[in-house]
């Protein structure tokens, strides 16, 4: 694909749509959690205020260079992931910077933010952050394994590493989706998705009751605001990939919103009434359930 300057404002437009959608969706999800707990919950615009407030705090202290760069890396991971996969299939405006081998790059970006976070949180010197990071890395590594297997399986299935082509192959009806053509890979990937959105039962990394609250313990004001921004972008960017790979992509924004929302709800509904696994329990869970399915998916294809 040829690079054109017009792609940059288009990408920024995508980004802003995603951020707004993400902020509202997160608030909506919090409201659903509150409803399960028989509460009214936060106002739908609460996340905007929190963000403004955190950017607007007057003081912020630093623990070193990596402490600065941690949230930046994380945000880069989120934005990068989003930028290199097509958001809306078939739209010149919203296909971003996708290219032939973008699937591999996307896999890399998924991990990139976590690593940056690990470095930054390690620099903060807080023991809870260190424990959180070690838990986080082991769990994310484990959760990525089935995803990687599922992606291989799909790449083999469609004979391409371009997300756009994978989406193209799924057009023409619901039954063409990977969900139905390669269900094992989808199951493996969705299990992996559970492990990486930091919702129960796999949120021991951020557990407030045990290691308040893990890697971001020391992060505050603008650093935290950056991370909040990323927390909005990253899951959506990830779900964009999932949507493209498994659920036939989206060719306009309403379909996009609905699909993303449904994928996220899968994790939310499981999460809202579950306690959390200990880290070695969750690793074993992934090894026992998700990884074999992923391997099976590769073999079957």
């Amino acid at each position: 694909m040829q690079f054109e300057w017009i792609q940059i404002p288009y990408a920024l437009l995508t980004l802003s749509i995603i951020i707004n959608f993400g902020l509202l969706m997160n608030a909506f999800v919090a409201k659903i959690g509150a409803r399960v707990g028989r509460r009214v919950g936060i106002p739908i615009y609460q996340n905007y205020i929190d963000l403004i407030k955190n950017y607007g705090l007057r003081s912020s202290i630093t623990h070193g260079v990596m402490f600065y760069l941690g949230p930046v890396f994380r945000l880069t991971g989120g934005i990068g992931l989003l930028m290199f996969v097509p958001t809306i299939y078939g739209s010149v405006m919203f296909s971003n910077f996708s290219f032939a081998g973008d699937l591999i790059l996307a896999l890399y970006f998924i991990f990139f933010g976590t690593l940056g976070m690990a470095l930054g949180a390690g620099e903060s010197g807080h023991p809870h952050a260190a424990i959180g990071v070690s838990r986080g890395l082991s769990q994310v590594t484990m959760a990525e394994l089935p995803l990687a297997l599922a992606v291989f399986s799909i790449a083999l299935q469609y004979n391409t590493l371009s997300v756009t082509e994978i989406v193209a192959a799924q057009q023409g009806g619901v039954l063409n989706w990977t969900l139905f053509t390669n269900p094992l890979a989808v199951v493996a990937a969705m299990l992996s998705f559970l492990g990486s959105v930091m919702r129960p039962p796999f949120d021991v990394v951020l557990a407030p009751q045990e290691i308040p609250i893990g890697p971001p313990t020391e992060y505050h004001s603008s650093y935290l605001a950056l991370m909040q921004t990323n927390r909005v972008i990253f899951p959506i960017a990830k779900m964009v990939i999932f949507m493209n790979l498994f659920f036939g992509g989206a060719d306009n924004w309403p379909v996009f919103f609905v699909k993303i929302f449904m994928i996220y709800m899968f994790a939310v509904f499981i999460g809202v009434v579950f306690p959390r696994f200990r880290v070695e329990q969750s690793i074993r869970w992934f090894l026992i359930w998700a990884v074999p399915i992923g391997i099976l998916a590769v073999i079957v294809v």
């Binding site: 023991p127 021991v204 579950f274």
Partner: protein, 391 residues
Amino acid sequence: MTYQPDRSQYPNKKADGSLDIDLKSGKFLKLWQGPQHPGITGNMSVELTVCGDEVVEGITHVGYLHRGFEKLMERRTFIQCFPIVCRICVPEPDFNEYCYAAAVEELAGIEAPEYANWIRTLILEMGRINSYLMYCGGQAGSFGMGVISQWTTYVRDLMLDRFEELTGARIYHMFILPGGVRDRLPEGFAQRMEETLCEIESTMSDVYNTMYCNAVFKKRSVGVGVIDIDLMDAYGVTGPNARAGGVAKDVRKDQPYLVYPELDFEPILGQDSDIYTRADIRRQDLLQSVDLVRQILAKMPEDGSLMAKIPSVMHWKIPRGETYIRGECSRGEYGYYLVTDGSGYPRRVNVRGPSYTHAMALLERMIVNLNIADVAGLMVSLHTYPPEIER
């Protein structure tokens, strides 16, 4: 396939039994759980030394809530002590009121009227329900299941409404005073109480389905934090913690007080003595308390005298003596040791809170070789509450 952690790097025992922890070696990490920490029961702290992901030593630090009650009560007359005793323990303040009142009554030779005793029992059981509801939410929360605590706190609020109706206050009721109780039941109380109890039962069945039947909750709690049966007496374990290990310690049965002899109930016993069993014992105890409240409301006399005749509170002197009054609160044996010396002030009051042993010696013993992630769960499952340790 059971998981066997590599414990070769763990510190050795020194000759005097303490662990040889050399912080300079870089193998160990000091980790403070508390006092500013959401995973701690109240304002206390555990100083953990961890090696890898496991705790090698845990030292409880208390005293953050010390107000010196036992000293303050020595400066107050017997009736002035009554409004401050309830402040010793927040989630279940009524036991302080009852134990103090009963101790004073015994030494002063006063007998509380029958009707007042029924109301006292009612209040104590209501308080027990509250305390257990708080516990259920905390136990689920310690494993990351916030929604349970939303549900239980909601029904606890309904129970607090009943308290408010009866005593005029939500938390500190100041209702049981030496000689009797302050007031009789309001009109229609029994019916509104029945509605609340039904609500509690339906919430608890929801809680049972979402929490106790949950595979992840079981995975986290079954077999974790087991109190060996031979530790029970050595560490003075009482209440649900003991009953979960099959020891039928229940003061309500062992040394019945108030109107418990007239109520129909059996102590609920468990077997495994792990976190799950303790949580389950408390759930069943809660339902039993619901039943007891129903029994009390059905069996209690229509009306009667509220207060025994007590001397003028300004000139109230109690002859020299000492006594110990105990009751079964939701965490175990709660007791007041009162010494009088013939003056108008108590000579010495000592409060025996069940957490005193549970949160100090027992916790320090059980915390060793526990995963860091389970520390909060263990602490909550012992149902400790720091103000009754340090008063």
